[in-house]
Symmetry: D2
Subunit: 246 residues, 4 copies
């Protein structure tokens, strides 16, 4: 905060004029310095944290979607505007994000948090018997959003893309995944929050790019984790969403 | 069985001619009777067994799809052509059908067996942890078909319709159900067997008749078991398939 | 807080003596009142919250274990020492407790929290595919304990008793339940926290009181929820543990 | 099969008598040889098939329990008494055995079938959601036994040993495994069939040989499949049971 010294009046006229002039000069000089500072000095970067599971854990590696977003922002001359980082942990479900929200996200004072979760909540039901009930998924998701809102942190929501890339909805988990995507879409709508609907974008992509109805090797290498094309698609969508924030 | 009396030869020529003529007449008369009998008497009915789970177990009740098929056949004046019965047992999966195939189906010498199974194979995975692996599903399905073929019994294949009636593929089990339907479709195709694709017919129906994306009360009363409209749709499809056999 | 008025010295000796005497009397009187207040007035009750799932939700009903603990404490003349309440929600797993810890427990400023959870973490694996991984179970359990410790709230740990009462370890979930009980026992040991080992107490009880190896109707009415005898056994164990705190 | 040469009749009487005498001698000689052959020549070996899952599939390899049983029988001079073979397929559950019973067992005309199954019926519930319901387990087990009995094939029943070797019943699947072992024990008892109770033998072994409550590397190398000691224990038990048949 700028505290301006108010010039002390001098009863002597000559002194008064002198000091007035002198003080005026000082004020002008300070103003100029301040103006230049504001115009050219580095303004605070927007800190963006991608918060998620193994897809995001891999996203910060070379070629990963977080890395790509960072490169794209720099290529567009915005290296001073954003500070991108990933907080992804393999196997994480929505309640795992909630548990480590404070330590891994809030403590880092982000401006924006991109929540990219859901695959394991669905997948682990059949894989390990430890998925997340739909109602609990929503509850924890909302609890995360509340904590972000309490700190005036902007949230971007993301639908989990795929577990299997077949385009005829015959991937084992398609139904449940669609269901959880609908939950996220509803939350975004009701809370007027930006949504990156990766699920829909992937499905759209498959229509034209998966002629043999393959279950992998289109945008993923293993039905879940992103290959080069997948990382690019996700990076494009994320970068667009981040730039779209006002 | 018809036992023809061979006319006794008479050495006397006159008698011979007489008796011959007389016998000729008898033979002609008998032949005529036989011809008329064959033309108008009841020929053997085609025995059709609907083989499945609780949907078929309920199907033989008043208003059930098997009952409806029977009524429809009679309404079309074909009461002497078909003998319809159900062999449905609640909770049955494909290997349960295989286990009781001999006792409940083969021993009854059917002409046609309509195999309508698959819901529990998918559903019980999450409900009880005791669903059927996709490869085992195919194996047992083929084993049933082989046993039918060995006895020259015609098979009609049916895809399981729904577990949840939402039309946007967001019913939890949609993906896996589609997957198992694809297995059945492939078997039908490869073995050149008639297929009643209930799954597709239900999905088509929902497009125009489930405006609010409800999960039940469209063609089922509980996401799985048929209500009146569901029983009618299934009966129509089944009856068409049975009549289509040559 | 007591603020004693210091008697103003009076230079006049007579007055001094008089006022001194007078003030002395006042002080003595006030002291007496204070003493009586402390001796007879209600001291602050220890607020004890039983924090758990449906077993605790039912525990606050008539005949429930929380109700019984309250009655027992009163019968022992300790109605002024304890304030017992339940914070049980049906279907809760350890992470559900964590999610509502602040609202349902911390905000009520308890002195003691009895954590009684684990059945659903194990059971829901097979029932719904949404149980809790063993490592996550421990993580959330420790996270709850940390938040209690941060507020100087005493914790009492409880092992989940049973899902099925057969005594030969042939209840479907016996193995996994024992595993999760071991996790709780280890946490209690490592953190030097009091443990109510209901699991062990139930098993001990069955040795002599379940001659026909029944799966229910010994201490539960449905393999999980407590019948009258079960509520009494649990109440006895809980009351002993609460009294045992120093 | 014995084919007796009928002596050719000789019309000449002297020759006839001679040859008759001569032929009589031949016949007597042949009869003697045949008698001696029957008494001392190798009698038909008892064909024993071990019918099961991956444990048995591995059992026929060098060091496997089937191989060991074969070696032990030979070491005891019984190489001509038994013909041991394995019919184990990885991942098999009881209904898989039923499906391939005819091809892999009945068609080979065994005298004895050792049924060693159950681990996957329990394990696959949580691993894949495709385990076997307890009632279906019993049903298919009995169906296998019936088919063996119809062909006068002797059956030896075996309880599945372990999924995890901890001795305090805290292996995740201990409860369910015990439950399925009880089903097998009951079947053995009710049908008066020999039982190799590997489960009990393994548990007994752990009491004295698993001091640190390890979950593997005692009799298995991975909680399920047998290491050298495990193969020896199983081989001992199997060999004893086979010899015990009358």
């Amino acid at each position: 905060m700028l505290i301006l010294k108010i010039p002390v009046f001098n009863p002597k006229i000559r002194d008064y004029i002198y000091t007035t002039t002198s003080n005026m000069k000082k004020i002008l000089f300070i103003s100029l310095v301040l103006f230049i500072s504001c115009a050219f000095a580095p303004q605070k970067k927007a800190k963006v944290i991608f918060f998620g599971d193994s897809i995001t854990e891999l996203g910060v590696k070379p070629g990963g979607y977080v890395t790509k977003v960072d490169s794209m922002s720099k290529a567009e001359g915005k290296k001073d505007d954003y500070d991108f980082s990933g907080a992804g942990v393999s196997g994480n479900k929505v309640y795992d994000l909630y548990l480590r929200l404070e330590e891994d996200v809030l403590n880092k004072n982000p401006d924006v948090v991109v929540i990219y979760v859901g695959v394991n909540d669905v997948w682990h039901k059949t894989l390990l018997g430890t998925g997340t009930d739909a109602d609990k998924f929503e509850k924890f998701y909302l609890a995360i959003l509340k904590k972000l809102k309490d700190k005036n942190i902007k949230a971007i929501l993301v639908t989990p893309a795929v577990v299997g890339e077949k385009k005829d909805f015959s991937n084992t988990l398609d139904g449940d995944l669609n269901k959880y995507c609908n939950i996220i879409r509803d939350i975004a709508k009701k809370n007027n929050l930006p949504l990156v609907d990766l699920r829909q974008q992937f499905l759209d992509y498959y229509k034209n790019n998966n002629p043999n109805n393959e279950e992998k090797n289109i945008l993923t290498y293993d039905k879940v984790h992103l290959n080069a094309k997948g990382n690019q698609l996700v990076a494009d969508a994320m970068w667009k969403a981040v730039k779209g924030l006002n």
